[in-house]
């Protein structure tokens, strides 16, 4: 089951339409924790379908940036637009319903539920059936979608196992399935390769590159081999600020970047 998924199958996931303008636009985002600025004045725009990596050492503010984008934290200052709409003060679920998705650095799945139930829950979350009291029937459309997603992340054989019993790498794959539920238009991947074996990393690269073209994403990743192979642009962060932006090959060769990041023992 570890063969790359046919693009045709992947294209059925999510029929969200790419709007005009930018998919994601951040202007002057600042987040203070007390007197400490976790991120300051971050301005960034990502086109629909664009894939970008955010790199930086620990404490550079990458995950805080994600938390601001998804609404887990409200930014102290700044503006966030998602496909043209100002979502700065929206609660997280409103942003998710508009097609934003994220995965978590530390797996946060529902360990007591089976794989299929986890994915089903993710599909329900962005559907109109959230409050339905009717159990899913065998021909349920959401259950069908959940099955497709489980296939797409190569977990078909584990479908009915409890998530708590899965291997670590499989849990990471499931994280991705949850993030692709419904009609995603833009996904935030928070270190999806962390802790994966080399084979699993190859698998992850397959999954990411096989995503339909209209789904853009930002990926935080320490593994440059993974990060630079699945993106077309890179943003470097340092001490909560944007430090450099460019194409992967430029960033890789940039002496300053090498000094700060690649030379810092993270590569």
């Amino acid at each position: 089951m570890n063969a790359p998924v046919a693009p045709a199958r992947m294209n059925q996931i999510g029929a969200g339409q790419a709007g005009s303008g930018n998919a994601l636009e951040l202007r002057g985002i600042t987040k203070m924790f007390g007197a400490l600025a976790a991120i300051s004045d971050v301005t960034l725009s990502v086109r629909p379908g664009e894939r970008r990596a955010v790199l930086g050492s620990n404490g550079a503010g990458k995950t805080t940036l994600f938390n601001c984008i998804t609404g887990d934290f409200l930014p102290t200052a700044g503006l966030i637009r998602f496909f043209g709409e100002d979502v700065t003060v929206f609660p997280p679920h409103e942003r998710i319903r508009r097609g934003l998705r994220r995965t978590y650095q530390i797996s946060s799945l529902f360990a007591g539920l089976s794989v299929i139930d986890n994915v089903y829950l993710a599909c329900v979350g962005v559907s109109r059936n959230r409050f339905s009291l009717i159990r899913p029937r065998p021909d349920d459309a959401l259950m069908h979608a959940a099955n497709m997603l489980v296939d797409a992340v190569h977990l078909t054989a584990e479908k009915n196992r409890l998530v708590g019993e899965l291997a670590y790498g499989q849990q990471r794959q499931l994280e991705i399935a949850l993030a692709l539920s419904g009609a995603p238009r833009f996904v935030l991947f928070d270190e999806p390769a962390a802790g994966l074996s080399p084979t699993e990393r190859t698998d992850l690269i397959h999954i990411l590159t096989a995503l339909p073209n209209h789904i853009g994403y930002i990926i935080i990743e320490h593994d440059m081999d993974v990060a630079l192979r699945v993106v077309e642009s890179v943003t470097m962060m340092h001490n909560g600020r944007i430090f450099k932006e460019g194409r992967p090959e430029d960033i890789e060769d940039d002496p300053e970047v090498q000094e700060l990041y690649l030379g810092g023992g993270h590569g």
Partner: protein
């Protein structure tokens, strides 16, 4: 692998047998005992013991639904039941002259509706904070309503409450007749139990359990966590209201004492003693509670105490459960079963 194959896989372990076939034999036995109990049991057992068990079980079930699936330990459920019961007494006919005396087909839906509105508003206040605060806030709301009914004479008829609140003579049956009341409360309890079991696997029920385990993640999946919690309060009010209305009919009266603080605590005791994790728990807890209450004089007499010490027994029993088996007597049962199974397995392994 085709999509059809996938579906087969998914539904395989669930749906190969019809739902009737999947009910274990023990349940059939319980069903038969409950259905034919009136053949052997006298009126006292049917009306006082079993009727009260079902009522208390339903109110406890609404707490179990909120606590077990939603992670919200609410001390409000007796109050919600009381609101429904009070509405039946206020809107319908009773011995007090503040009652409006409306027809039952207005009164009962109105009682459910008003109790649901009350539960929704209170729930909305309670879910503003998390965790252990819930228990405090719901206790405070329950107390406020209790004191209010005691002070207010124009609507709630104050201290004396309402008497002579009788069920309507529907289909020519006197529903307070012990056998009729037994079957009525049994049917209601079965429906409520079935509803909770069914809903636990519905999108709403699954999501509620997700909210219990990881609210932040649920928000990141598109769920409005607050709305889900409030909706759970509204839904749980249906079970509590059913119990509350039956309670008024059984006692033929309702007064502030019915919904006092100790009654609210009793519901918690019943649900915790039975087990908060499974819908069956509250009914088991209710049966134990009612049996202790009814036979407290005999039990206490054995130890040389007077029957007044009933609350002491309840308190100590509750403490023992919370200290030694936090998941209730159902967990004790599970542990015992597991030990028996382990012993059997050891014997069969040892035999050849």
């Amino acid at each position: 692998m085709s999509v059809a194959d996938n579906l087969q896989r998914l539904t395989g372990p669930y749906e190969q047998r019809s739902w009737l076939q999947r009910i274990p034999a023990a349940w059939w036995a319980v069903a038969v005992i409950l259905l034919f109990m009136p053949v052997v049991a006298n009126d006292f057992w049917l009306f006082q013991v079993m009727g009260w068990t079902f009522i208390l079980g339903m109110i406890g079930l609404s707490l179990m639904f909120l606590a077990g699936y939603g992670g919200m330990v609410s001390l409000l459920q007796m109050t919600v039941a009381g609101v429904a019961g009070y509405m039946v007494a206020i809107l319908g006919p009773s011995g007090a002259n503040v009652s409006l005396g409306l027809a039952w087909w207005v009164v009962i839906p109105a009682a459910f509706l008003i109790a649901a509105i009350f539960a929704t508003i209170s729930g909305a206040l309670a879910v503003r904070t998390d965790g252990i605060y819930t228990i405090m806030i719901t206790l405070a709301i329950a107390a406020a309503f209790f004191y209010f009914t005691r002070q207010n004479y124009s609507i709630f008829n104050g201290y004396s409450g309402f008497n002579l609140v009788l069920p309507p003579k529907l289909f020519g049956v006197n529903w307070r007749d012990p056998m009729a009341f037994y079957y009525l409360s049994l049917a209601c309890a079965t429906l409520c139990y079935g509803a909770v079991v069914y809903i636990s696997r519905s999108p709403f029920g699954l999501a509620l359990q997700g909210v219990r385990d990881n609210p932040r993640r649920m928000a990141a999946l598109g769920f409005n966590v607050t709305a889900h919690r409030v909706a759970a309060y509204a839904l749980a009010s249906i079970f509590a209201s059913t119990g509350g209305i039956l309670l008024v009919w059984q006692n033929a009266q309702i007064a502030p004492g019915t919904i006092g603080i100790s009654a609210a605590i009793d519901v918690l005791v019943v649900a915790v003693v039975g087990g908060l994790r499974r819908p069956l728990g509250p009914f088991i807890g209710a049966l134990i509670y009612v049996l202790l209450q009814v036979f407290s004089a005999d039990i206490l007499g054995l130890f040389g105490f007077s029957a007044d010490r009933f609350k002491l027994i309840i308190g100590i029993g509750f403490l023992a459960i919370v200290l030694f088996s936090p998941d209730g007597v159902l967990a004790l049962w599970d542990r015992w079963r597991a030990r028996v199974d382990a012993r059997k397995a050891a014997e069969t392994r040892g035999a050849p």
